[in-house]
Symmetry: C2
Subunit: 379 residues, 2 copies
């Protein structure tokens, strides 16, 4: 028995074997699949893929290279700018009341004319980072005058999913903007128009490796007077279940993080996917993802993502079951030793009720559309 | 905590909620779905459905009502007749060496001209029951001269699955023939041409409710001299993992069976589906099924089933994980009491390696094609 892997480790490995086959990379399609190919080969098995030559015909791929075009087209549009000191919004940060613990910090959201907002993105530096994003279908509302530059949906995807996109979001950021590990209860078609996005992907079966715990919600506030951010806890306290793992800890924190989160750092590596301008990523529902970006020559990364409703089917039921199993049930002390898991770490996995309202919290815990998805999943 | 259901019970219930929606029956389609509808609505979510008006155009639906037509067309065909004393082949039976334990009993298979074989099916009675079946693609081999009476595949299904049927099997039996609970590593399109089939269906998530255990393989042998069957254990001993539950115990055994298999008898009821002549059942891969039948006015039930290769995807990985969890991990003594599970029942769940070679054993443990599927699943 000592030599055998635990069931949960077998599960992590088997999903990798099934997803990658004999490759070490996710599938890369040189052109969009047919609806049946997409549904059969990727959506049904909940398997990501990278797709080239799917947006070559979008006017956006050329027009948006011109910053003048963007500011001109959106000259009278008011947009939502997310401001943080570090570029990390919807991420864990030291709790302002007791800095030895963490809180879930959201950006300050400012509504201002696009040209001013874009300037703030371009002039970002550590201390004040702007990210143009709002996961409330912003591409079809705030950025409506750009909509004609992209297709309103991907025909092959809409046919496969059996519906039109529930939300389309625009993202304009720079190299400082980063999105922490989370999952969405949506099928996601993620198109990069300029710059590059770097995804780390983990299948839903790796849920215990994310160390999802509850953190009190907090929000950044920028003071014009001091030119500094303060972080304020929400009152009354609202707890947000969130992934604890930062996959890129600073060198001085690395050892500590590896000791705190051994299942992540000592387990199988995440799938690494770079999505270049003109490529799209199919990011299946419920996959955990972390996103960094490299800007184009102007210093911008621009992407549009299409969220489609996911199916709540047997896969979802299996996920809920898996997530509800306490960590102690899944690894015996002997083999968790192999994973570097010291028994003194009391790994608290949220109970299943808390968890089912997580994930949805996800991309933006304060987001309306995401909360709608949440309602869908509750019985 | 005492009031809460265990995670495994939540899983059983959630899959039912997702499969049935607000209905108490599986979906019944009045005509065949499109490939996309079928893949999206049924195959991907691993959800059964009943379909009417899919085989109206088959010559079989009229021609096979004539026994004369069948014997005439197959007058020179040699077919495989499965003979058992009770109609229950590939089922548990008292072990001939130690009758207090059970063995896995297979039929005696005789190869004889179709007209003689059909006579034995029609003249079956308790003591000697004949069932014309062989799960080795027999419809396209032994019964090749009937093939033109049915379509060679279902276009909408083949498009959805992305392949042609791996095997097509014919079944000609009577009211005594019964198939015990098992699962197949195939997608199954099951068409009833005459008579009715009664299915009990359980989703793969109910695996622990089947009490899969290992039983020594045995085979019936019919003696022309005595007119009786003997049951002989295979030598060397070969163990077959098989479902322990008989869903229709005789009245005098019922209480004992309910005590032995409380998770089955006290848990959620199986889905009951009657497939009438002219209807087809989509029986998703990995679903446990038990089959009984009602004959037509001649005393025959005739069906053709199409096995398509299944996808070994994240659902399969989740299943293997679930199955590998020992029963003791899933129900605590308090709540298993609620299920009627007495702690003295030492429920042995086969380990995951044994199990992965089960299921495939399934419909016919001695079957070539089924063993091929087995190979596929091994890594």
């Amino acid at each position: 028995m000592e030599e055998e892997e635990e069931p949960i480790q077998n599960l992590w490995q088997e999903v990798r074997d099934l997803t990658l086959g004999t490759s070490t990379q996710i599938n890369h399609l040189s052109s969009p699949p047919t609806p049946l190919q997409f549904l059969r080969g990727y959506v049904s098995p909940n398997k990501p893929c990278l797709i080239s030559n799917a947006v070559n015909h979008w006017p956006a791929t050329t027009l948006w290279q011109s910053t003048h075009y963007l500011t001109n087209t959106l000259s009278s549009s008011t947009v939502s700018l997310h401001l943080t000191p570090t570029g990390r919004a919807d991420a864990l940060s030291p709790n302002p009341i007791s800095p030895s613990s963490l809180c879930f910090a959201s950006a300050e959201v400012k509504h201002l004319p696009f040209p001013d907002a874009l300037t703030q993105v371009l002039e970002s530096e550590m201390g004040c980072v702007g990210y143009l994003q709002q996961q409330n279908d912003c591409f079809r509302s705030e950025y409506g005058s750009l909509s004609k530059d992209c297709d309103s949906d991907f025909g092959w995807a809409s046919e496969a999913f059996g519906c039109l996109p529930e939300a389309v979001n625009l993202w304009i950021g720079n190299e400082l903007s980063e999105t922490s590990f989370h999952k969405d209860h949506y099928e996601n078609i993620y198109a990069v128009v300029s710059g590059e996005k770097h995804f780390l992907l983990l299948p839903p079966t790796d849920v215990h490796r994310m160390y999802i715990r509850e953190y009190p919600a907090a929000e950044y506030h920028y003071s014009q007077d001091t030119g500094k951010f303060s972080l304020e806890l929400e009152e009354p306290v609202r707890n947000v279940p969130w992934c604890s793992v930062n996959p890129y800890p600073s060198p001085e924190l690395k050892e500590k993080e590896m000791t705190k989160f051994p299942l992540y750092f000592n387990g199988p590596r995440p799938f690494e996917v770079t999505v270049k301008a003109g490529e799209i990523l199919y990011l299946p529902s419920m996959w955990f993802h972390h996103v960094k970006q490299c800007p184009d020559s102007r210093g911008l990364t621009i992407a549009v993502n299409y969220w489609y409703d996911m199916q709540f089917d047997i896969k979802y039921a299996y996920f809920n079951f898996l997530q509800s199993l306490p960590h102690s049930m899944l690894c015996d002390p002997a083999s968790s030793g192999k994973l570097g898991l010291e028994s003194q770490h009391n790994i608290s996995i949220c109970n299943s009720e808390d968890e089912s309202s997580m994930g949805d919290g996800t991309a933006s815990a304060s987001d309306k559309l995401v909360h709608d998805a949440d309602d869908t999943t509750e019985k």
